[in-house]
Symmetry: C2
Subunit: 205 residues, 2 copies
């Protein structure tokens, strides 16, 4: 059990969780690091190393108990605890993410959505009343929201991010192609769609 856990390990932990969940539904009680690794096309040693960050979770000679491991990972990642998110920017992408089913399974709940446009404010978008971005701070505090999904136009990105920081947001999933400059206290992950597509296509042939 070491100190610093690599981000890559956390990502794989989530993948393990998904497979274990599925395996359990199938009635699989026990699994070896090798079998789990094969499903993900990685090495058994990788699985074991990842899990070893969190203690001795398996039984030598016998492998891992699927349910126990799944529950341990759920605990590590706090998947059971619901976490509130807000979505800022109700364009096409923002509206699609509000409705995205996948978030629920990992314990996220969209607690508020924001936009700046009078045509959207106070209207329902996929079941959520769109709030004026002016009230960002108030609503984020009222609902104790810690995570924001940022889908505003590029021009508004930095400014909006600053408002999110001021409102006390701890993490931002940034869909804008802008490098946000905030204090290091705010954890930022970027999803740059056009870039992903371009990187991908560069490697063909």
């Amino acid at each position: 059990m070491k100190k610093k856990i690599p981000e890559k390990t956390i990502q794989r932990l989530l993948l393990y969780y998904r497979y274990l969940y599925f395996l359990l539904q199938q009635g699989t009680k026990n699994i070896s690091s090798k079998s789990l690794a094969d499903l993900l096309e990685i090495r058994g040693s990788q699985v074991r190393k990842d899990l070893s960050y969190f203690g001795r979770l398996g039984t030598r000679g016998a492998g891992y108990d699927v349910m126990a491991l799944r529950d341990t990972i759920a605990e590590i990642l706090k998947i059971d605890k619901e976490k509130k998110v807000c979505v800022v920017g109700m364009g096409n992408l923002g509206a699609a993410l509000v409705a995205y089913k996948g978030f629920e399974a990992l314990g996220f709940k969209v607690a508020a959505v924001f936009d700046i446009s009078p045509q959207k404010i106070n209207h329902k978008i996929r079941g959520h009343t769109c709030h004026d971005i002016k009230n960002l701070s108030k609503i984020i505090n009222e609902h104790s929201i810690e995570v924001a999904i940022l889908t505003v136009p590029a021009e508004a990105a930095q400014e909006t991010a600053l408002r999110l920081e001021k409102a006390g947001i701890k993490a931002i999933l940034n869909f804008t192609p802008v490098k946000l400059s905030l204090s290091k206290k705010v954890k930022i992950n970027n999803i740059d769609l056009a870039m992903e597509l371009k990187t991908l296509s560069f490697f063909i042939r």
Copy 2:
């Protein structure tokens, strides 16, 4: 000028391109690796190493010519050449991506969209007539589409991916939370939205 170019380098090249484009608009003629690196919060040596994969692009003592470097990167990444993509699965996310403006700037054009639902087939979605997924192969070949964006439900993901492979698709940007099993000829990049959000939130505090 070495052999294998890391994927990370390609990603940064795209970022450099974006900044150079912007700098050029501002009238900046020349830039040092240090200044460019500062904009991206990386090291100058990283910029120089990345660029060195493609030859000697700068002038010792003087830095890089913004326009020349931008154009060289555009050439390396073939940003000028239009590449056709299709979007498969016209749910909320698929429909949002069809309308996503950011793709154009990097030379992508949505040439076809597909779904399986009779309610959508032959109807216009954000300006594109939605095709029956049955005609996937035919239309992909007619338009010489090489890249696909996959936004079908998880249950249909693997099956649809196989059809894309058979149709001759070279690369897939996979938005489903499914590990696709295809021959290694098809380059796959995964964007797992729920996972990104969960990884992000794990690291807060």
